[in-house]
């Protein structure tokens, strides 16, 4: 069996008539968006949230640990910072392609690149927050008999929190946008409808997916602000 198949007699389905707006590729076709929400937008949105949360969580664990070590051993701060900055400057798209031979067209490839991207921001934010704790505060804490660990947990980290939270906010918002490029590797996340709308131009899909990404960034940012407020009640001004 080989060669060109003999032409059969296919039943050609009637796919109905699309609305004027869809056929003419109008700026934004609300009817189509509502129709397609559950198949074309909801699953990628969920995938996108997954991707970002995993990347920021892993990035935070690594960067936080590295910052604590660098804070204790001052001579490490320079080299660690340089490594993190180097990883940050790698163009994500190039990194995706470089990783594909090793880790395949998988979520793992995407996450490695996204994590690399978050490290430097979180690392610097944690380190800066710790470095900004006033000396006399630390001295009085030690004077009250706190050991190194208690000092870190009860004094230094709480005072560094606002800086850490602001680093997390920047890293998260950035990851939301960089994660759209993941569509070059896996057919997942909000980049997927964007990429497909590029190769088969359709404004509505483009705008809808883009707007969802922007919205998602705002929501994450807002949530982190709220978390920060809850964790640092002493920053609220009392009238």
């Amino acid at each position: 069996m080989s060669g060109i198949a003999p032409a059969g007699d296919p039943v050609i389905p009637d796919y109905g008539q699309a609305s004027e707006c869809v056929i003419d590729n109008g700026v934004f076709c609300g009817d189509w968006f509502v129709d397609q929400w559950s198949t074309a937008f909801w699953p990628p949105l969920i995938d996108h949230i997954y991707m970002v949360v995993i990347a920021v969580a892993i990035g935070f664990i690594i960067a936080f640990a590295a910052a604590l070590v660098a804070y204790r051993k001052k001579w490490l701060a320079g080299p660690t910072g340089i490594v993190a900055t180097f990883l940050y400057t790698l163009p994500p798209l190039a990194l995706f392609q470089l990783l594909v031979p090793f880790t395949g067209l998988t979520l793992l490839t995407v996450e490695i690149a996204l994590v690399c991207f978050t490290l430097v921001i979180i690392f610097q934010a944690v380190l800066a927050g710790l470095a900004a704790v006033p000396d006399d505060v630390k001295k009085s804490a030690i004077g009250m008999g706190l050991d190194q660990r208690q000092l870190m947990v009860n004094v230094e980290l709480p005072l560094a929190l606002p800086s850490i939270i602001s680093g997390l906010r920047i890293a998260t918002v950035l990851t939301v946008s960089v994660a759209t490029i993941a569509a070059f590797v896996v057919d997942s996340g909000l980049g997927s409808p964007i990429l497909k709308a590029v190769s088969s131009p359709f404004n509505t899909q483009f705008i809808a997916a883009g707007a969802l990404a922007i919205l998602l960034a705002f929501v994450f940012d807002g949530l982190l602000v709220i978390v920060g407020k809850i964790l640092t009640p002493w920053t609220r001004v009392r009238v």
């Binding site: 003999p6 039943v11 796919y15 869809v22 699953p43 995993i54 979520l107 490695i112 990429l195």
Partner: protein, 317 residues
């Protein structure tokens, strides 16, 4: 329903892998990670697993073909992962060779020109198919029957531009002064790419602008380019006021779609899978594929839905 189950399974697998790797992530990030791909992108062979990964290329027609393969195979009891929009011919072919995908639809002319390295103009679709099959078989890949429809590259110009310069065939572009032609980035070199056209037709006056597939229609309407590389089955082409120039030197060859299946995967398939793929391909006439493309690219119905309706109405699922 099948699709849903497939999705959650995939995600769980992916997350499990991530969790396992999370611990070593710091080292991985620095060293480029040493995880093997065997359990990440690859598939288990053997009748018990019967997991198949289907891939598709970077444009709507290929997405629909990928969905047709995936849903039809799922209906026959295979566990199918579908990787849509994997990318250019070179990327997806590498993915097939390295076991990251098992099956994908490819165009016979692409195989012949890109990899089999045939420079001579080919006489027939059959001959093109034979050379493509021979090359694939030598590289550990089995092919089945090709579709009756062809989707080949062509050069299109605006009707006004054609009238103004009296253009009917590609040769007529010679000596009309400088003009800009656009094609997608991985179609610049090679026999049917920009360089091949310039060489074969002696078009030294043709300048190049690379654009992603699909952006050329807007560009030509706005007058940013004068000639565009188009696909003959593209519904946008049928709806536009563009004129396709006759390929008088038979440069663009023949482009029927053939399923490429890696040998080791093919040996694990039951008889019903090849049977289904052949039956499906024989139904994909030019009318059928144009209707499917139109449903996806004009009506904007999700390719999965487009494929499902076609398979159901033709009794393939």
């Amino acid at each position: 329903m099948h699709k849903l189950i497939g999705h959650t399974l995939n995600r769980r697998r992916a997350l499990g892998t991530l969790g396992a790797v999370g611990a070593g992530m710091a080292a991985a990030a620095l060293s480029g990670c040493t995880a093997t791909t065997a359990n990440l992108g690859g598939t288990k062979s053997g009748a018990a697993g019967r997991r198949i990964t289907v891939g598709s290329k970077g444009f709507a027609e290929s997405w629909i073909m990928g969905e047709l393969y995936a849903q039809g195979l799922r209906a026959r009891g295979y566990q199918v992962d579908l990787k849509t929009n994997v990318g250019s011919s070179d990327i997806i072919n590498t993915a097939l060779q390295s076991g990251q995908i098992d099956i994908y639809p490819e165009y016979t002319g692409v195989i012949v020109v890109n990899w089999a390295g045939t420079d001579t103009a080919l006489g027939t679709a059959e001959e093109t198919f034979d050379i493509a099959t021979k090359w694939e078989n030598e590289h550990g890949v089995t092919t089945l029957q090709a579709t009756p429809f062809e989707n080949k590259n062509a050069i299109a110009v605006r009707k006004e531009f054609a009238d103004e310069h009296g253009l009917k065939k590609v040769s007529d572009l010679k000596g009309i002064g400088n003009f800009i032609y656009s094609t997608y980035p991985d179609n610049v070199s090679g026999a049917i790419g920009y360089e091949g056209i310039v060489e074969t037709y002696g078009l030294d006056n043709m300048e190049l602008k690379t654009l992603s597939i699909g952006l050329n229609y807007q560009a030509i309407e706005r007058g940013e380019i004068q000639a565009a590389d188009v696909f003959t089955t593209d519904p946008q082409l049928l709806r536009s006021d563009l004129v396709v120039l006759e390929d008088d030197k038979k440069l663009f060859g023949f482009q029927n779609v053939v399923p490429l299946i890696r040998d080791d995967v093919f040996h694990d398939l039951e008889g019903d899978a090849p049977e289904f793929l052949n039956a499906l391909h024989s139904l994909l006439t030019i009318d059928a594929i144009q209707a499917l493309n139109e449903a996806s690219a004009i009506n904007r119905i999700d390719p999965a839905q487009v494929a499902k309706v076609f398979l159901q109405e033709n009794g393939l699922m």
